[in-house]
Each structure stands twice: as structure tokens, then as C-alpha cells.
């Protein structure tokens, strides 16, 4: 049978990095910051986690370092877009480019290899009940984010900052502070996503190994309308597409067809939801 529990399990494994990154993107979106630097932040997380895990022998320190490094990297967006009021889209594109260059550069200066760093002594994350601990963390993060946004005063203010920054400022809520907060938080989440990709899904680092997953996360934010549960469903869709792709490859479909499956499925889902949404009077789009 094609749709069985194995498929669901591998879909759940594939979706973790997307989900973590997309949650970060969703929080930024709610605060009125359009974050398309997710891909670059994830990639920084991938490299840092592998480098730290290799030098210290501890994948846990790798995860921690990845979160910190990606958060530090996200400061580019925070300072550029919030403080200097620069263009967030251009900044995000530049951050993605910079991350590809920087990690390839570091791969060669630190490890002296080109392309892929793959060493048997590199420690990856253990599996608990078939999943990496970061997978459980990502599910918990969805619940926490959903509760915060709907029930907690922090979430209420965050939404206020995104929807009516001037009104929020009049009430004594500093938009800049909230925006810095969510951008740094998205950095942490993308760092974890990168660590999961490099130490959880596999145990190696390859140049540009995020391969568009950060962009899929951006789309997941749009698909899920920046709501944690919506984002979870969107990420699940991607995970299913990736898992089904692997399965079909096993059945003899060429790799090129299955490789592009997640992008096509994501785009298709985007068509359906935006087409439906547009019939309603209110438009929700990305916030600049």
C-alpha cells in the first residue's frame, strides 16, 4: 500500500526543518516583518552545527551553537530592516546569498574540503522513538506559538505591532522591540532547523544543502496564513510530497521528477488557497 504509516513517519521526519523555519517566519510576519532570509539563516545553522559537533564531539553543543549563530546572523535583518528601515526583501535575498558564499568559504578554510564534509566521527542527533528530539521540540513550539498568539498578552501585542504599529506605539508598546524579538527568535528557530537538517536528517554538511527549503518555509507561512497550526499543515503537505517522492523513486520514477515534486505540490497548494482566498473581500498578503 502506498499511503501507509511508514509514509506518514517519513513525512513527519521530512517536515521538521521546514516547520521550525516556517514558525519563525510566521512570527515575523505577524509582527509586520517580511522575512525571506529563512534559507540563509538555516544554512548558517547547518554549517555551525556540523562544525561545532565535529570539534566538540557533542551534537547538543552543535544544536546550541547553530541556534546562537543563526540568531546572530538574523541581526542583519533586524538592524537593516527595523532600525535602518531598509528593504526587507532585498536584505533577505542578500542574506541568502551571503550564507551560501560564507558557508562554502568556511567549509574550505576550516575543513579544507570542497562540496561536502562527511566524516564518520561526526556525531549526529540520536533518535527517540523514531524521531529526532528536535522534531518533538518543533511540535511543542507549534503549540506554544499558537497559545502565545491567541491567548497571551505578548501575542496580542505582537499582532498589534504587525497590524497597527502606530496604535501599538501609542499604547506604549515599542514596535521595534517586538520586531527585534521575533527576528531573533526566527533566527533561533532557523538555526534549529539547520541543525536538524545537518545532524538529524543526515550527518554531514554540503554546500547549499538547504536547497530551497527556506523558500518552501516562506511559502508555508503564506499557505498557513502565518498561523502556527496552518503552518504545521502546510509543512505536513511538503513533508508528504518529499516522502512520496522518495517512495516513487523506489518504484522507478526518475530522481529529477521526484526532486521537483515538493515545489510543484507547494505551488499547486498556493494556487488553490490564494484563488479561493481572493474571492473574499479581505486580502491577507505579506506585510512589508
Amino acid at each position: 500500500m502506498f499511503l501507509d504509516s511508514d509514509l506518514l513517519m517519513s513525512a513527519l521526519r521530512a517536515l521538521t526543518p521546514i516547520l521550525l523555519a516556517a514558525l519563525g517566519g510566521a512570527l515575523c510576519e505577524r509582527a509586520g516583518v517580511f522575512n525571506i532570509g529563512l534559507e540563509g539563516m538555516m544554512l548558517m545553522g547547518c554549517f555551525t552545527s556540523v562544525a561545532t559537533s565535529w570539534f566538540t564531539g557533542s551534537p547538543w553543543l552543535g544544536v546550541l551553537a547553530a541556534a546562537l549563530a543563526a540568531a546572530a546572523y538574523s541581526l542583519i535583518l533586524a538592524v537593516g530592516a527595523v532600525t535602518l528601515r531598509g528593504d526587507a526583501v532585498v536584505l533577505g535575498i542578500a542574506m541568502n546569498l551571503l550564507a551560501v558564499g560564507l558557508t562554502s568559504f568556511l567549509l574550505r578554510t576550516v575543513f579544507g574540503v570542497q562540496g561536502t564534509f562527511d566524516d564518520p566521527s561526526l556525531a549526529g542527533l540520536p533518535l527517540v522513538g523514531g524521531f529526532s528530539p528536535l522534531a518533538y521540540l518543533s511540535w511543542a513550539a507549534v503549540a506554544v506559538a499558537a497559545l502565545l498568539l491567541s491567548r497571551h498578552v505578548w501575542g496580542l501585542r505582537l499582532r498589534g505591532v504587525g497590524e497597527a504599529p502606530d496604535a501599538a506605539a501609542t499604547l506604549g508598546v515599542s514596535p521595534a522591540r517586538y520586531q527585534y524579538g521575533v527576528i531573533l527568535l526566527s533566527g533561533v528557530l532557523c538555526g534549529l532547523a539547520g541543525a536538524q537538517l545537518a545532524l538529524g536528517n543526515v550527518t554531514l554538511f554540503t554546500e547549499n544543502m538547504t536547497a530551497g527549503r527556506g523558500w518552501i518555509a516562506v511559502v508555508a507561512v503564506m499557505l498557513g496564513r502565518a498561523a502556527p497550526l496552518g503552518v504545521l499543515l502546510a509543512a505536513l503537505l511538503f513533508g508528504l510530497a518529499e516522502a512520496a517522492g522518495f517512495r516513487l523513486q523506489g518504484l522507478g520514477l526518475p530522481q529529477q521528477a521526484t526532486d521537483s515534486a515538493p515545489y510543484v505540490v507547494t505551488l499547486g497548494a498556493l494556487f488553490l488557497t490564494t484563488a479561493r482566498r481572493r474571492r473574499r473581500p479581505r486580502t491577507t498578503g505579506a506585510v512589508q
Binding site: I36, I76, V79, G80, A81, L84, R85, G86, D87, V89, V90, L91, I93, A94, M95, L97, L98, V100, G101, L102, S104, F105, R108, T109, G212, W215, V218, V219, M222, P254, Q256, A257, D259, S260, Y263, V264, T266, L267, L270, F271, T274, A275, R277, R278, T283, T284, G285, A286, V287, Q288
Partner: protein
């Protein structure tokens, strides 16, 4: 002195300078001498051995920089350059291999077919925004992946050169190639791209369409009020953009090694370098040409730097991105990236 400080205050000069300074610091950090390294970049790219290679690279970089600059001038970002270029390349290869026409006509047919393929695919992304409301930025990028996969599949299976272990098509028949200058790898393609740049400059400066495009980029609401039809403009700009990207792919196939090699068009990152150049110049025609050439020099010179100083060539990619980070922090484009929804939001805000 005032002139120097004035130039430094311009975001562009500041960004380039900041990029070079940070690059120098990184070089110092890796124990290399920045002066030697930068000298190696320049002599490697512009010296007798490197200039041919620089002009070949510049052909592709400039072609894609123009392709991305033209919609950017109206505030539209096309991120699907890779897909459009690769489809142009594979279509040109198929045309070159199977056309019954004499060689010179086949070359022309292959160029046109490549442009048509790229344009058609870019129009698909424009339709996604116009009809389905998917932002162009996202639709063009997501569409790029299946196109690259399709071309890769074609080069690896149905069109694969028999007996070869490489993922490439058969070589094009004799004579089906763009004429090259002397023994170099520089072809007539450079002239075609230069003509495209000249046409863009003329349109931008001297025609009503160019004015409309610029106005739309500067102030979408005003231009809509003045009667510029946005959907039509998006469609037109994307078809020109994709056509140019397709042309770059076709030129790549009709030049050395005269076949479609899987990955050879996408691996050098022309799309991203081109976008960086277009962003750096704010899509102005002359500025885009200069920025594209500057980045081609960096890309080719990076190899020379790697040979003489053992600093990895990826440093030049880092430099490019740093320049854009600095520039973006001071850049303010109108929020047209998200099409109608963003505009409507703006309208709501102002009402």
C-alpha cells in the same frame, strides 16, 4: 574633499567600499595579504590570460543581469532566472540537434527557440501573479525547480550522448555554433547581449514605455492612476525578462562546448550574480552593465586569487553579498514586491 565625502555618502559607493574593506579584513583573518589578493583578482581577470574568460562570463552575467533588471525597474523581482535560462538552453540544444535547416539558419532558429522557451516560462510566472494572486517573487522561484529538473532529466536520459558517462547531450552538428572571436571562447553572444543592453538603455531613456516602467517602479499607485495597466505590464516585462534569460541559455549551448551539459548553466550562479548586479545598480541600464562587468571580474579573478594566495574563490561571492547587504539597508523601494495585496494595503493606510 567635499566631492569625495559626497561620493562616499552615496549608498552605492559606500556599499562597494564597505564590501571591499570587509573582504580585506576576512583576507587578513585567513592570513593573506589583501593587496596581493585584490591585485591577483584584477590581473587574473583583466590580464591577457583572463580577459577572454572574463568576457565569456560577462556575457552570461550581463545577460541575466539585464533579464532581471528590466522587471526590477518596475519593481518586480523575477527569481526564476535559472529555470528560464535552462529551458532556453535545452530548447536551443534540441533545435540545434534536430533542425533540418542549413547551419546558419539553425543557429538563428535555436536562438529564437531558446528565447521563446524562456519567455513562455516567465509568462507562466506572470500569469500566476495576475490570475491566481501568487506573488511573482515566489511563483517564479518555485517554477524554476521543475524546469531545472526537467532539463536535467532530458540531458541524462532521452537526449543523452550515447556511450558518454557525462550527463550531456550530443554535440551540435558542425557549423551550428555562434562565431567566436579568434581562438577565444568569446562569441557573437557577447554582441547580442550588448545589443540587448543598448536596446534597454534606449527604451528606458527615450521611449514612453520606458517612462511608464520607471514611473511604475517609483510609484505604482501614481502610475496606475495615470493609466498604466499593471497586469499587462507585468506580462510584457516578464516575457522580455524570460526571453533574455532564455537567450543566455541558448548562447551557452551554442558556444563551447557546443552542447547542453547538465548543471553547467546553473552551477556558476549567473542568476544570483545577475540579480545582485541589477539590485546594485537599481536596475539602471548603464549601471547594470557596469555592475555586471564588475561581478564578472570578481568571479573570474577569484580563481586567480585562489591560485596565488590560496584564499578560496568563494570569497568573491561573499564580497558580492556584503555589498548588497549594505546597500539594502539603505535602500527604499516602494512595496510593489507583493503586487496587489501590498498596494491595496497601502491604499487602506492612506485612506
Amino acid at each position: 574633499m567635499t566631492r569625495i565625502s559626497g561620493a562616499l555618502r552615496s549608498p552605492l559607493a559606500f556599499s562597494v567600499l564597505a564590501g571591499l574593506v570587509i573582504g580585506a579584513l576576512i583576507l587578513l583573518g585567513t592570513g593573506a595579504d589583501p593587496v596581493t589578493a585584490y591585485e591577483a583578482v584584477l590581473t587574473g581577470a583583466l590580464g591577457g590570460d583572463g580577459i577572454g574568460s572574463t568576457l565569456t562570463t560577462a556575457t552570461s552575467v550581463l545577460g541575466l543581469a539585464l533579464a532581471l533588471a528590466i522587471p526590477l525597474r518596475a519593481g518586480l523581482i523575477n527569481l526564476g532566472g535559472d529555470g528560464q535560462m535552462v529551458l532556453g538552453g535545452i530548447t536551443a540544444a534540441v533545435t540545434g540537434l534536430y533542425s533540418p535547416l542549413p547551419a546558419p539558419l539553425t543557429v538563428a532558429a535555436a536562438l529564437l527557440a531558446g528565447m521563446a522557451a524562456g519567455a513562455g516560462y516567465a509568462v507562466l510566472a506572470a500569469l500566476c501573479e495576475n490570475r491566481l494572486g501568487v506573488p511573482l517573487l515566489v511563483s517564479s522561484l518555485l517554477l524554476s525547480y521543475p524546469a531545472v529538473s526537467l532539463a536535467s532529466y532530458l540531458a541524462r536520459y532521452p537526449l543523452k550522448e550515447p556511450g558518454s558517462s557525462l550527463p550531456q547531450t550530443r554535440a551540435l552538428p558542425d557549423g551550428v555554433a555562434l562565431p567566436a572571436f579568434g581562438d577565444s571562447t568569446v562569441t557573437l553572444g557577447l554582441v547580442l547581449v550588448a545589443l540587448a543592453a543598448a536596446a534597454y538603455w534606449f527604451t528606458d531613456r527615450r521611449t514612453a514605455v520606458g517612462y511608464e516602467i520607471r514611473m511604475t517602479g517609483l510609484n505604482p499607485r501614481f502610475s496606475a492612476y495615470a493609466g498604466v495597466e499593471r497586469r499587462g505590464l507585468t506580462l510584457k516585462l516578464m516575457s522580455v525578462s524570460g526571453g533574455l534569460a532564455g537567450l543566455v541559455g541558448a548562447i551557452g549551448v551554442l558556444s563551447f562546448p557546443y552542447r547542453f551539459v547538465d548543471g553547467s548553466l546553473t552551477a556558476p550562479g549567473y542568476t544570483w550574480t545577475g540579480l545582485t548586479a541589477a539590485l546594485l545598480a537599481a536596475a539602471a541600464p548603464l549601471g547594470t552593465v557596469i555592475a555586471a562587468f564588475f561581478f564578472a571580474v570578481l568571479q573570474v579573478g577569484g580563481l586567480a586569487m585562489e591560485r596565488t594566495t590560496e584564499v578560496p574563490r568563494e570569497l568573491t561571492q561573499v564580497l558580492q553579498a556584503i555589498v548588497i547587504v549594505f546597500l539594502a539597508a539603505r535602500l527604499r523601494f516602494p512595496s510593489r514586491w507583493f503586487g496587489r495585496s501590498a498596494i491595496r494595503r497601502k491604499e487602506k493606510e492612506t485612506v
